[in-house]
C-alpha cells in the first residue's frame, strides 16, 4: 500500500514537471519572436481600450439627444457620431492587424516546430524507424502540430484580451463597493478549484485522444500502402473490421475527452451566475440597509458581468489548451528522442580514403538477448572484392549496418585505413561508401534528380552517361518527359528492376572509394545484368567492394568470400579454396545446378 502510494506520488510529480516543461518549451518558441508577441499584446490592449471608448462616446451622443423633442443638440450629436466612426474604423483596423500578427506569429512558431521535429527525425538512428509506424510519426508532424497551431493563434489573443477586461472591471468594482467584491472571494476560488480539478481529469484524456489518433493513422498508413495485397486476397472486409475497431477507439477517446471538456464551459458559467445571484441578493440587502444606492448596484452588476465574461471565455479556452498541451507533449517527446550519438570531439574526418577495412573481434545483436554476429574477423584491403554469401536471415545485411555505422558493434573494432570508425565522423565515413540496396528508394522528384541525388552538382551529361552505363537510358528516353519525368510514389510505370537500375546509376555518380552492393541486382533480369556487367566492373574498379548476392555467379571472382550461417562466419576464402573445402559453400554452389 505504502509502496503504491509512493509510486503514484512520484508519477504525479514527474507529470507535473513534464507539464510545466511543455509550457516552458512552448513559451521558448514564442519568445524567439518576442517582438511579435509584444506587438500582439499591444494591439489587443489598444483595440480593447478603443472598444471600451465606443460606449462612452455613444453615451455622450445620447446625452446630447436627452433634452428630447425639438431640443436635440445636433452639432454635438454629429460631432460624437463622427468621432465614433473614426474610433470604430481604427478599432476594426487594429483587430485585423492583431489577427494578422497572430497568424504570422503562430505560423513562425509552427514552421519552426515542424522543422525541429523533422530535423530530429532524420537524425534519429535507423533502428528508431524499424520500431515506429510511419503513420504515427506523420501524425505527430501534421495533426499534433496543427492542434498546437490552432490553440496558439486563437487562445493567446483571447487570453490577453480577457486579462485586460478582468483587471479593468475588478478595479472599477473595488471603487464602487469593496465589501461586495468579497462575494468574489467565494466564487473565484471555486472556479479556480474547479478548473484545476478539470484540468487534471481532462489532461490524460486528451493525451489518450492524441495517442489513439496516432494509432489509427499508423494503421491507415499501413493498410493504404498495402491495399494491393489486401485486394488481391479479398481481405477488405476483415481489414475494415480491424479499422472499425481502431476508428471506434479513436472517436471514443475523442468523445471521452469532450465528455468532461464539455462540462467546463457550462460549469464556469454556473459559477458566474452564482456570483451574479449573490451580488444581486447582497446588493439588494445592502440597499435595504441603506449601505448602497440603486445606481451603484446597477453599475456594479454591469462590471461584474464584464468581469465574469472573460473568465467564462477562459474556461472554454482551457479545454482547447489541454488538447494543445497533450499534442505538444507528443511532439516534444519525439524531439527528445535520443539521436545518433554525436561524433566524438575532434573526430577524424575520413578524406582521400584508401579503402582498407578491418574488422576485429566484432560481436553484435539488435537486442542484448540475441547476438547476431559473433566474433567476426575480416581484413579487406583496398581494391578487394569481399563477397558475403549464405542463406537468408543469416545476418548478411547486419554486417553492412555495422560497416556504415547504422549501428555500433557491442564488442570489437571496425577500422578504416587504420582508424577506428567510432573515432571518425559518421558523415565522412558514410560518404566514403557508395551503396546500392535491395530496397530501392526513389523520391518524388524527376528522374534526373533521383540519379544525381548523391551528387547534386552533376551535369546532365554525367547523369546521362551514368544512366547509359546502367542500361536505363533507353527506357528513360522513351518516356514522354525523358529525364524530367516526375517519379510518383508507387508510380505504375516503373518496374522494380528499373528502379534498381536507377539506383545503380545513382551510385555510379559517386566518387566514393568503397562500394556496398546489397542484392543490388536481385530484381534485374540476368540479361540486363550481363549488359551492365561492364559498367559494374568499372564501378567496382579500384574500390573496396562488399557484395551481398544470392547468385553465386556474381560473387565467384571475389577475393574473399565470407560464408555466413546463423550469425557465424563459418567459411572464409576465395572461390577455389572454398570449393576445395567441400563444405557449406560448395553445397550452396552446387544447389543452383541441382535442377539442371
Amino acid at each position: 500500500m505504502q509502496y503504491g502510494m509512493n509510486m503514484r506520488e512520484i508519477k504525479g510529480s514527474d507529470e507535473a514537471k513534464f507539464k510545466s516543461g511543455v509550457l516552458i518549451r512552448l513559451w521558448k518558441y514564442l519568445y524567439e519572436h518576442k517582438w511579435l508577441v509584444f506587438l500582439a499584446i499591444f494591439l489587443s490592449v489598444a483595440s480593447n481600450v478603443l472598444s471600451l471608448l465606443g460606449p462612452v462616446l455613444s453615451g455622450r451622443a445620447i446625452d446630447a439627444i436627452e433634452p428630447g423633442k425639438g431640443n436635440v443638440d445636433f452639432k454635438k450629436v454629429f460631432f460624437y457620431c463622427a468621432l465614433m466612426v473614426v474610433f470604430y474604423a481604427i478599432s476594426s483596423a487594429m483587430m485585423y492587424l492583431l489577427s494578422a500578427t497572430m497568424v504570422a506569429l503562430s505560423q513562425k512558431v509552427i514552421v519552426k516546430m515542424r522543422k525541429d521535429v523533422f530535423e530530429k527525425l532524420v537524425d534519429l538512428p535507423v533502428g528508431y524507424f524499424d520500431k515506429n509506424k510511419t503513420g504515427d510519426l506523420i501524425s505527430r508532424i501534421t495533426y499534433d502540430i496543427d492542434t498546437v497551431n490552432t490553440s496558439l493563434s486563437n487562445d493567446l489573443v483571447q487570453i490577453c484580451a480577457s486579462v485586460i477586461t478582468v483587471f479593468g472591471s475588478f478595479f472599477m468594482m473595488v471603487a464602487i463597493s469593496p465589501v461586495m467584491v468579497l462575494v468574489f472571494a467565494v466564487t473565484i476560488p471555486a472556479s479556480v478549484a474547479f478548473t484545476k480539478f478539470m484540468t487534471n481529469k481532462v489532461r490524460p484524456l486528451f493525451r489518450k485522444r492524441s495517442a489513439k489518433l496516432g494509432e489509427l493513422n499508423g494503421f491507415v498508413e499501413e493498410m493504404v500502402s498495402g491495399h494491393k495485397t489486401i485486394k488481391a486476397y479479398g481481405r477488405e472486409k476483415v481489414m475494415l473490421e480491424r479499422f472499425d475497431e481502431r476508428n471506434l477507439q479513436a472517436v471514443d477517446a475523442y468523445y471521452n475527452a469532450e465528455y468532461y471538456g464539455s462540462m467546463v464551459g457550462p460549469s464556469i458559467n454556473f459559477i458566474n451566475n452564482l456570483s451574479l445571484s449573490l451580488v444581486s441578493v447582497f446588493g439588494a440587502l445592502m440597499y435595504l440597509f441603506s449601505m448602497l444606492s440603486l445606481g451603484d448596484i446597477a453599475s456594479f452588476l454591469l462590471y461584474s458581468r464584464k468581469f465574469s465574461g472573460p473568465i467564462n471565455e477562459f474556461a472554454n479556452i482551457i479545454s482547447e489548451l489541454q488538447s494543445a498541451l497533450a499534442a505538444a507533449e507528443r511532439v516534444f517527446k519525439l524531439i527528445d528522442e535520443e539521436p545518433e550519438k554525436d561524433d566524438i570531439e575532434g573526430a577524424h574526418v575520413f578524406e582521400n580514403v584508401e579503402g582498407n577495412v578491418e574488422i576485429k573481434g566484432v560481436s553484435f545483436g539488435y537486442t542484448p538477448e540475441k547476438t547476431i554476429i559473433k566474433d567476426l574477423n575480416l581484413k579487406a584491403e583496398k581494391g578487394r572484392l569481399i563477397a558475403i554469401a549464405g542463406p537468408t536471415g543469416a545476418g548478411k545485411t547486419t554486417i553492412i549496418n555495422l560497416l556504415m555505422r547504422f549501428y555500433d558493434p557491442d564488442k570489437g573494432i571496425i577500422s578504416l585505413d587504420g582508424v577506428d570508425i567510432k573515432k571518425g565522423t559518421r558523415k565522412s565515413l558514410r560518404l566514403s561508401y557508395a551503396m546500392v540496396l535491395q530496397d530501392t528508394w526513389l523520391f518524388g522528384g524527376t528522374i534526373a534528380e533521383n540519379i544525381a541525388y548523391g551528387k547534386p552538382d552533376a551535369t546532365m551529361d554525367e547523369i546521362i552517361s551514368a544512366a547509359k552505363a546502367a542500361k536505363i537510358h533507353g527506357y528513360i528516353s522513351r518516356l514522354p518527359d525523358g529525364y524530367s519525368t516526375v517519379l510518383d510514389e508507387d508510380g505504375i510505370n516503373i518496374s522494380q528492376g528499373q528502379k534498381q537500375l536507377l539506383t545503380i546509376a545513382r551510385a555510379m555518380l559517386l566518387p566514393s572509394k568503397m562500394l556496398i552492393l546489397d542484392e543490388a541486382t536481385s530484381n534485374v533480369d540476368t540479361r540486363t545484368e550481363m549488359k551492365i556487367q561492364q559498367a559494374m566492373r568499372k564501378l567496382m574498379e579500384g574500390k573496396t567492394c562488399f557484395v551481398i548476392a544470392h547468385r553465386l555467379s556474381t560473387i565467384q571472382n571475389a577475393d574473399i568470400i565470407l560464408v555466413v550461417k546463423d550469425g557465424n562466419i563459418i567459411e572464409q576464402g576465395n572461390h577455389e579454396e572454398l570449393m576445395e573445402m567441400n563444405g557449406f559453400y560448395s553445397q550452396l554452389y552446387y544447389s543452383q545446378f541441382e535442377n539442371c
Binding site: 445620447i62 439627444i65 423633442k69 425639438g70 465614433m84 470604430y88 476594426s92 485585423y96 489577427s99 505560423q107 514552421v111 522543422k115 523533422f118 532524420v122 524507424f129 510511419t134 510519426l137 506523420i138 501534421t142 491507415v220 499501413e222 500502402s225 491495399h227 494491393k228 495485397t229 489486401i230 488481391a232 475494415l240 472499425d244 472517436v251 475523442y254 468523445y255 458559467n269 454556473f270 452564482l274 445571484s277 449573490l278 444581486s280 439588494a284 537468408t392 536471415g393 556504415m404 558514410r430 560518404l431 551503396m435 530496397d439 523520391f443 548523391g454 516503373i494 518496374s495 528492376g497 542484392e519 536481385s522 534485374v524 540476368t526 540479361r527 544470392h550 544447389s591 545446378f593 539442371c596
Partner: protein, 589 residues
C-alpha cells in the same frame, strides 16, 4: 458536400433534440438578467427580505438548470459528432480499399492517407463545434431582432438593412476561402509525402549523408504549407473586423436617426439606450457566427476532399458478357489471354497482343527483361486493370463478368516487394481469413518458412515490426509465399518472389510446390531460369511482346534471347564442367 450532409441526416432527430435542450438552456440562462431587473425594479422597493432571498434562490435554480441543460446538450453534440465521424471514416476506408489501382494511382497514397486522417479529423472537430456554438448565437440574433422590432421598428430597419450586406461579406469570403483551404490541404499532402519518403528511405539518405539536403527539401515544403495556411487564415481574418465595422456603423446610424426621431418627438431617449444594449448582444452573437463560419469554410474544404473519394465512380464493374459459346469442355483452358494489349498511360503499349492458354494445374513461367511487362500480366489477370484490347478468361468466363470477390478468391499471390504487416507471424500468414491452424502450419512448411519461424522466440506468435524490418529479405519472401499457399488457391501467382532466396531453398520450394499444389495453376515470374525451367510453358517477354513461348527445350532451340539468358546464368561451358564434376562427386559420395 451533399454527400457529407447525408451522413448527418440520420442524426437529425438527435440533433434537433440537442438543439431543443440547448435552446431551453439558453432561455433559462437569459432569465437570470430578467429576474435581476425584476428584483431591482419591483422587489427591492418592497423592502421584503425573505422575498429577496426567494428570488435569489430562483436565480440560483435557473443558473443550475442552465448548466445541466448545456452540459447535456454539449454531450449530445459530441455524441453526434462521434457517431457521424465514425461512419464517414468507415465508409471512406471501405471506399479507399475498393478503389481500383488506376484510381489509387490518381489520388496517390499519401493523399488518401491524409484524407482518411486529417480531413476526417477536421470534420469531426467542425461537426461538434457547430452544434455546440451554433445554437445560442442564432437564438440571440433572432431574439434580439424580434425585441428591437417591437421596441422601435424604424430603428430596427437599420439593423435589418445591414443583414444582406453582412450576408454578402460572409458569402464573398467563403467563396474565396474554400479554394484556399483546399490548396492548403494539397500542400499538406506534399508535406506528408516528404515525411514518408524520408522515413522509408532513411538508410539511403544517411548513407549518402543527405540529411542536410532533406532538411532543406522539407524546409521548402514546410514554408509552402505555411504560406498557403497564412494566405487562407489572413483572408478569413478579414471577415471578423469587417463585420464588426459594419455593425458599429449601424450603431452610429441608429444614434443619428434616433437623434432626428427624438427631435421630432417620435421616440424616447430611453428606447435608444435599450436599443443600443440589444445591438451589442446581437453584435457579439454575430461575431460568434462569423467565427463558426471560418471553421465551416475549413470543414467544407475537407469535406470536398472526402466526397471526391466517396463519390469516385465504381471502376471495373462487373459486366454481362456471355461465355464463349464455342467453349469446349475437353480442351478446357483454365486461364486464357486472347490478343491482350494494355497501356498504363494510354500511350505506348506496355503489353502488346499477348495470347496464351493454360490448363488446370499447369505451370507458366514468365521471364524477360526489366520493364518488359511481366508484372503487368499478373495485374491484368487479377483485374487490377482492364485490358485496352482483347480479353482474359478464367474457365471460359471473361474476367469482366466475374464478381470481384469470386474472382479474387481464386488467387494466392505474392507481389514484388509485397507488404508484411506489423502483426504476428501467424496473422501475417492467415491474413484475416480465419484459416484452420493446420493450413497455416502446412503452408509455412511448404513455403520453407517453418525452420526460421520455429527459430523465432515466440514462433508463430512472434511480432513482426512495421514493414517487416525485423525479418531478412528471404524470410519476408517465405512468409509471403506461405500466405499465398495457406488459402490452397486455385491459381498461384508468384511475382519474382523468391529472388532473395538462396538456390537451395528456392529449389526446395519449387519441389514442394510441384508435389503439394498439383491442381493449382501456377504462374511464376522470375529472373532465374532455374526457377521456371520445369514449367509446362515458358513465355519469353521482350518489351511488352511475346518473343518466344514453349518449354525450356523448345525455347533453347528457337529463342535467341532465351538462349542468351540461359548462357549468362549457367556460365556456359564452365557451368557444364562444374555440373559434371558435381555429378562425379555425387557418384563417389
Amino acid at each position: 458536400m451533399k454527400k457529407i450532409a447525408s451522413y448527418l441526416k440520420p442524426y437529425v432527430p438527435r440533433m434537433l433534440l440537442g438543439f431543443g435542450i440547448k435552446f431551453t438552456g439558453t432561455i433559462i440562462d437569459l432569465f437570470i438578467p430578467w429576474i435581476l431587473a425584476y428584483m431591482i425594479d419591483n422587489i427591492v422597493p418592497q423592502k421584503n427580505v425573505p422575498l429577496v432571498l426567494a428570488w435569489g434562490a430562483a436565480m440560483l435554480a435557473c443558473a443550475f438548470g442552465a448548466m445541466i441543460t448545456n452540459i447535456i446538450a454539449n454531450r449530445m453534440a459530441s455524441k453526434v459528432a462521434r457517431d457521424s465521424t465514425e461512419r464517414i471514416r468507415h465508409d471512406l476506408f471501405e471506399k479507399v480499399l475498393s478503389l481500383s489501382e488506376g484510381q489509387t494511382d490518381e489520388f496517390t497514397i499519401p493523399s488518401l492517407v491524409s484524407r482518411l486522417t486529417s480531413d476526417t479529423y477536421n470534420l469531426h472537430n467542425a461537426i461538434g463545434m457547430m452544434q455546440r456554438l451554433g445554437v445560442r448565437a442564432p437564438i440571440l440574433i433572432l431574439g434580439g431582432i424580434i425585441v428591437t422590432l417591437i421596441l422601435e421598428p424604424v430603428l430596427a430597419m437599420v439593423l435589418i438593412l445591414l443583414m444582406p450586406l453582412m450576408a454578402f461579406v460572409v458569402y464573398f469570403f467563403s467563396k474565396k476561402g474554400i479554394p484556399l483551404y483546399s490548396k492548403l490541404q494539397q500542400n499538406v499532402d506534399k508535406l506528408v509525402r516528404v515525411i514518408r519518403e524520408n522515413i522509408t528511405g532513411i538508410r539511403v539518405i544517411k548513407a549518402l549523408s543527405k540529411t542536410e539536403y532533406e532538411k532543406e527539401r522539407f524546409g521548402g515544403v514546410n514554408s509552402e504549407v505555411s504560406a498557403s495556411e497564412k494566405k487562407a487564415s489572413l483572408t478569413m481574418a478579414k471577415t471578423d473586423p469587417l463585420m464588426n465595422f459594419l455593425l458599429d456603423m449601424g450603431l452610429v446610424l441608429v444614434v443619428l436617426i434616433g437623434a432626428f426621431r427624438v427631435n421630432a418627438g417620435l421616440t424616447k431617449t430611453g428606447e435608444i439606450i435599450a436599443f443600443l444594449t440589444y445591438f451589442t448582444i446581437i453584435l457579439t452573437a454575430i461575431m460568434t457566427v462569423t467565427r463558426l463560419f471560418v471553421m465551416y469554410t475549413k470543414a467544407v474544404a475537407s469535406a470536398k476532399r472526402i466526397s471526391a473519394v466517396l463519390e469516385a465512380p465504381d471502376d471495373l464493374t462487373v459486366e454481362e458478357i456471355l461465355s464463349n459459346p464455342a467453349f469446349n469442355e475437353d480442351e478446357k483452358e483454365h486461364i486464357s489471354f486472347e490478343n491482350v494489349s494494355f497501356s498504363y498511360l494510354k500511350s505506348k503499349n506496355n503489353l502488346e497482343n499477348i495470347s496464351f492458354g493454360l490448363k488446370k494445374g499447369e505451370t507458366l513461367g514468365i521471364i524477360g527483361a526489366t520493364g518488359a511487362g511481366k508484372s503487368t500480366i499478373l495485374k491484368l489477370l487479377m483485374r487490377f486493370y482492364d485490358p485496352d484490347e482483347g480479353s482474359i478468361k478464367i474457365d471460359g468466363r471473361d474476367l469482366r463478368s466475374i464478381p470481384e470477390a469470386e474472382l479474387r478468391s481464386k488467387f494466392g499471390v505474392v507481389f514484388q516487394n509485397d507488404t508484411v504487416f506489423a502483426d504476428t507471424v501467424y496473422e501475417n500468414i492467415d491474413f484475416g481469413r480465419g484459416l484452420p491452424k493446420e493450413n497455416i502450419i502446412s503452408a509455412a512448411s511448404f513455403a520453407q518458412a517453418e525452420e526460421f519461424i520455429n527459430s523465432l522466440e515466440d514462433g508463430y506468435d512472434a511480432q513482426i515490426s512495421a514493414k517487416g524490418s525485423n525479418l531478412s529479405g528471404g524470410q519476408k519472401q517465405r512468409l509471403l509465399i506461405a500466405r499465398a499457399l495457406a488459402g490452397k488457391p486455385e491459381i498461384l501467382l508468384l511475382d519474382d518472389s523468391s529472388s532473395a532466396l538462396d538456390y537451395a531453398t528456392d529449389a526446395r520450394l519449387r519441389r514442394s510446390l510441384n508435389e503439394n499444389f498439383k491442381d493449382s495453376t501456377k504462374i511464376i515470374v522470375a529472373q532465374r531460369i532455374s526457377s521456371i525451367m520445369h514449367a509446362e510453358k515458358i513465355i519469353m517477354l521482350d518489351d511488352g511482346a511475346i518473343a518466344g513461348m514453349g518449354t525450356h527445350e523448345e525455347l533453347l532451340e528457337n529463342c535467341e534471347i532465351y538462349r542468351e539468358i540461359y548462357a549468362s546464368q549457367m556460365g556456359g561451358g564452365i557451368a557444364d564442367a562444374i555440373r559434371n564434376e558435381y555429378a562425379g562427386n555425387k557418384r563417389f559420395g
